[in-house]
Symmetry: C2
Subunit: 423 residues, 2 copies
């Protein structure tokens, strides 16, 4: 069939964004995290928000079923922020849940049905022991053909990384460049789970060893530190500890409105000019492991709608559940050619002060990865950076007019891409 | 705030609908059921369907996470019917999952983004032992305040039934009238899990007892049979076995398109002129247990959009997960006044040959209740009846121009209502 250019019946703007602290909170449920994010979002709306004006709610969540024994969470979240009897819909596409929730919210506003919609994501993961979290996440793979054979997510991404190394000559040190960069950014993000640079983590280890009178490891710099299996053990080769995003509790909320209402909520709204979504086969079925079809499809759809090109995008938050995922993402979006992403990371192009800053928030790697909330969390960073409100981690010397988020589900069974414009 | 009348930017039509057999299938997964439903849907499209024309997929599913250890099912379903890399989104609002998926599909077509969308629901439940199914379903209640206190769904609906009996004077015999009616309908539905009338079930029991030389129970008619705790044991008083819908495996698929494309797919399309959705507090928080706020909100929204009234609707499929749920639903929609629903059931108004036939498919009670597929399954019946294709169970002497579906999540945390028109 002939494909139409994707076009929304009316424009949509982002007028508020907020997140809970990301981390491990033994005393909080997903409800508490959601309320915390909702309050932060409401506070971010320049001209104030009467929450009664919200007409519908989309909740991205991977599996509070498995994590908390709680399905059907959308009306509960609606209730906890006073939105009953408004329509409340949970959207699930694994770790892309809240990216897809954003897309559904945009579509709903475009449809003419609503003018003012709350988009959110929430996930509470740390109440389960780590091995059960790993098993729970494995339910996002193809459980019949992948999880049942012993594949967990570090192993699945290890397969991607191995294929990428073989094809393009990348090494584990290249992956560590991504980790170092994202921790440098996360160190400047007060809401990040790990807001410490790897250098600081290394120096803390050295200091601790000194105090104990233990023999000092001979770490000259971060890369040296990360070579040491005491500091950076293998999880699933070539993925080591510092290749992996953490297990995280967190929530994020976004307020989107019809474009013509944007200025009545915000002095500095962002316009969502592109949205794309794609699906892909399960990893075991793919011919090429070094690129993800859903991401290419989503990016193409979003760029086509927005009428801009990858080179026009100034900053982006991409889905770095593992370091290799960030490298592949930057290629699938079209920022770099296939096989060039790791070189860009090595050269500092994607650093906060580089030509194309990626994951200034710290990314999932350092900010944390509460899976169903990560996509909405990415948008919070874009909101903050584009409005010049990122404080010490504000991208230096850049007037950001165009930015992008890339949110992946599992090994890319789902991907969403969104493009934001400041006018 | 002032509420706008809900209005979609463009019209949406239903041009295909099909379901798998509903039942208990030890050798089938939700993938197999989905493919079976997809094939039935494709066959129902009068002018044929090139599946490559489908632009996006919505999958309603309550918890394949808990039932099958499989999250992130939308891209898997897309893959199994050849739709990769199209956007594939799972929607979850408990037992209203595929009613909400339909609404999301409608909204997506209205937004201008897609012209041709697949809406579906799938659930595979019978692989778990019954007590684990009951626990899994309880995750759709408020797990913190209800399931944790020992409430399972029969108990939650028993609370509703008790309150209704106390307020309006209904008896358990009234509830049985609903069960008898729905089994009478299901007996005529070859895709129903229990396609036997209660009279036939009773006579089979009598026959079996005769053959074994056991003393015959003195059952004069169905109501007498259903009084006997050997035939109809209490599950959670006043809910007995025949008040409860079964545990079911099944899937259903719907094809919706932009209104102006309807005739290029179908000789006899249905136009979806109303969609409504609401949320409600968890049951333990409600002031009145005999009515469900989400259902009233959803019905009001759908009627307002459609510009029709409850009395205009000729037939309806409503969410009879328990007999009491059907009675409350017919009141919340506005077919009958509060406290009058059970009398309508008693008088045969809601029978297949009554003035307002309800659940001609057999309803969830007899057709089966694969929770995430039930909402889409309701639409399959409306499609079949409105097109005059229901064979022996076709509503007699009625030219059906307007019909309605009512799909509830859990105890009504979510409800969707849709209104269909034949022109």
């Amino acid at each position: 069939m002939s494909r139409r250019a994707p076009k929304l019946a009316r424009g949509v703007a982002l007028v508020g964004a907020g997140m809970s602290k990301f981390g491990a909170f033994a005393d909080k449920t997903s409800r508490d995290l959601f309320v915390e994010a909702f309050a932060a979002m409401a506070k971010s709306v320049d001209k104030g928000l009467d929450t009664k004006d919200i007409e519908a709610l989309y909740v991205g969540n991977f599996s509070s079923d498995l994590f908390e024994g709680q399905g059907h969470i959308a009306p509960i979240m609606a209730d906890w922020v006073g939105l009953v009897p408004r329509p409340a819909t949970r959207v699930e596409d694994a770790c892309a849940a809240s990216g897809v929730a954003l897309r559904e919210g945009i579509i709903a506003v475009a449809s003419g049905l609503y003018d003012i919609v709350l988009v959110s994501g929430t996930e509470k993961m740390t109440n389960l022991p780590t091995e059960r979290v790993t098993d729970t996440l494995a339910a996002a793979s193809d459980a019949v053909y992948e999880a049942s054979c012993g594949f967990t997510f570090p192993a699945l991404y290890a397969a991607i990384a191995t294929a990428y190394m073989a094809k393009y000559g990348a090494t584990v040190e290249h992956f560590m460049k991504v980790a170092i960069k994202n921790h440098n950014n996360g160190a400047l993000n007060p809401k990040a789970q790990f807001n410490k640079s790897i250098k600081d983590l290394m120096n803390a280890r050295i200091e601790k060893a000194k105090q104990k009178g233990e023999p000092l490891p001979e770490w000259r710099d971060e890369l040296d530190f990360l070579k040491d299996p005491r500091a950076n053990p293998v999880v699933a080769w070539p993925m080591r500890l510092f290749d992996c995003s953490p297990i995280t509790d967190g929530a994020a909320c976004l307020l989107i409105v019809a474009e013509d209402l944007a200025k009545s909520f915000s002095n500095n709204p962002l316009y969502i000019i592109g949205t794309g979504q794609g699906s892909d086969h399960a990893l075991h079925e793919r011919e090429d492991l070094t690129t993800i079809g859903s991401a290419r499809a989503a990016a193409q759809m979003a760029f086509e709608m927005a009428g801009v090109k990858p080179e026009d995008i100034q900053i982006a938050e991409v889905h770095d559940c593992f370091t290799i995922a960030e490298i592949v993402a930057t290629e699938d979006i079209g920022f770099f050619k296939p096989g060039e992403g790791y070189k860009a990371a090595e050269k500092g192009v994607t650093a906060r002060d580089g030509a194309k800053p990626i994951n200034t928030s710290g990314g999932l790697k350092s900010k944390g990865h509460p899976v169903g909330a990560s996509g909405a969390g990415q948008v919070v960073e874009i909101w903050t950076q584009m409005r010049g409100e990122a404080g010490p981690r504000q991208v230096p010397g850049m007037d950001i007019q165009l930015a992008l988020t890339h949110n992946l589900g599992a090994t890319g069974g789902t991907c969403t891409v969104h493009i934001f414009q400041r006018r």
